[in-house]
Every structure is written in C-alpha cells, then in structure tokens.
Amino acid sequence: MMERREFVRRLLADRGDLAVVCGLGSPTYDVAAAGDHKLNFYLWGAMGGAAMIGLGLALARPDRRVAVLTGDGEALMGLGSLATIGVKQPANLAIVVLDNQHYGETGMQPSHTHDGIDLVAVARACKFPEARAISDIAEAGAVRDLLHAGRGPILVQARIASGDTPRVLPNRDGHAIKLRFIEALEAAGQ
C-alpha cells in the first residue's frame, strides 16, 4: 500500500501544462499538498462528476493532457461515466483513482472496492485501452509517464493506505478556481 501524499507528489512531479481535475475530499487535499497550481480544478462537491468534467475538458482541448485524480467513492458514484468515456475514447484523458477502499470524509466506512468490486475490470469492460492497478510506490513514475504520454482513456487504480492524512485546504471559491484555470489553460504553451 502506498502513502497517498507521496504517491500524488510523484505523479505530479514536473507536470508542465498537465491539467488536473480533483475529486472532492482527500484527492483535492492531496493535489493541493503536492503544490497549488493554476491548472488544478479543485472540486469541493459535485460528487460523481470528476471524470465527466475531465471528458468535457479533454474533448475541448485535444492538444492538452488531462488527468482526473479522484477517490474510490467518487469514482463509484460516477461509474456510468466510464461507459460514456469509453464511447468517446479521448486519447488525452487519464483517470487515477486513489483507492483507500473507504469513504474518508464521512468516517471511513468501507466502499465497494473494499469488498472486491474491481474498477480496473470495469474500465476494461468500458473499452479503456489502458487500465491497471498498482500498489507499489516504485510504479508511480510509470503512471506519471502514462499521464503525459499514454494513449487514453486510461484508468489507474492506485491502492493507497487508508491512514489519516492532515487536510490541506485549497481555495473553495468556485468562481476563482474556474477563472484561474481558464486563464492558465489559455496561456499554457503560448
């Protein structure tokens, strides 16, 4: 099992213009802890929507790489969106599920993945050309490379330890997060 903060730090190392959508709760804190960035779109709600935000963005900007970092509970709530993404086959979209097998925000109740529901198998069934599970931090570099150069849609189920992690709270103002992101994306690569 990996320590989530260290894994996300390695995933976002030398990220360049990678656009990142973060699912609500711990993934948002993990991405903020790795270093605030204008191309982070932090979610504080809209549970189940992270992957679809990633799809809309990936379709709008096929010239950019888009990564969705979310939790197992958030991914499970939007399970149908994997089928929708499978239909569209966005080559520039990757979803990393930070899977601690629990609902961390609500008191660590076990999630479906705790009982063996297999998100990688779901992604494969949804025609994701790349779907894998990892549990060794040594593989973080390979996943980082997938985010930047792999052919999407990609799903990585990253098995992380379920221990308590201090909250790192980024901005909660949705308008500010949005405007900052849009301006940065327009400026990126110019």
């Binding site: 709600g45 809209a46 929507g49 963005l57 709008a60 939007g78 969106s81 949005k178 992101f181």
Partner: protein, 176 residues
Amino acid sequence: MDDRTFSLSWPDAIYGQFRRVGIRQVGYVPDAGHSRLIELCVNDPDIHDVVLTTEEEGVALAAGAALGGQRAALLMQSSGVGNCINMFSLMKNCGFPCLTLVTMRGEFGEFNPWQVPMGSITEASLKLCGFLTYRVENPGDVEDIVGAGADMAFSGDFQVAILLSQRLIGRKVWTK
C-alpha cells in the same frame, strides 16, 4: 403546415441556434422528443456528441467543456432534471454557463402517470437550482426563445433551461 412539418421544423430551429452561438459539445440521453435534434448534432463534424448514461453526467461535461473554452448544450427529458439536482450545484458554485433543452413529459395529455410526479415539478426544481427557465409552447417561438436563452447563458454565465412543452412536441402515441 402539417404535423410532420411541425415536428421537423422546431428541432432544426434549435440546431440553427446551436450553430449561431457555436455549440461544440452536446450531451444527451436518448429521447424521442429530441431525436431529430440529436441526429442533427451527431451528423455535425463540429460537434462532439456525447451519449450519456444519466443526465448529470452532461452537467459535469458542460463544466469541463467550459474549462476548455468550448460551449456545450445538454438535451434531456423532464425526468432527467431530477437526476441532475446535486450536479447543478457545480454550475452555480463556479458560474459555469449551462444551456439545457428539456422536453416535457407528464403534462398536456400525458398517457403515462409515472411521468407526472417529476414533470409537474420540473420547472420549479430548475428555479430552485438557480436556473432561468423559458417555456416554449408554439413552434414559431422556438428560434427566438432558444436564441435568447443561449445568449443569456453564454454572455452572462447563467444557467438556462428551455422547457419544450409536451403540446409542442406532440403527445406520445401509445399503441398496444
């Protein structure tokens, strides 16, 4: 104008407004009322047509499109509005433009009583979620109202719903 001409003309009017305002992504759950408009969008190489498993996916899709600088529209039936309610908070919290076209069920001459509970609270639900709502009853008003609604959505980052009444769409014809 016979019934068939009516049924073909209003979706074309909506599509014309999509072209005018530059809609580039259209999310939809298959719907009989929207079938002609869906066909027009699917056949347009400038539009990403995204078939959804449930309507709230389309709300999140529209947010992502806006982050990437594209305009999106969402096609759904009145029953789908209920599926979207929590996801609409994303649009309000961030001030994302949202344009949705809702074909109404559960009103004028509805045969299926199961459509009535959601259909009868669709407009009120949208208003509670912060949407501006515009209702269309006559085919001749479609272009004007959809155009005005789209301009409100994209020039002011508002959430706008166009309700296409069951009388406009035509009653669903049931056969044994």
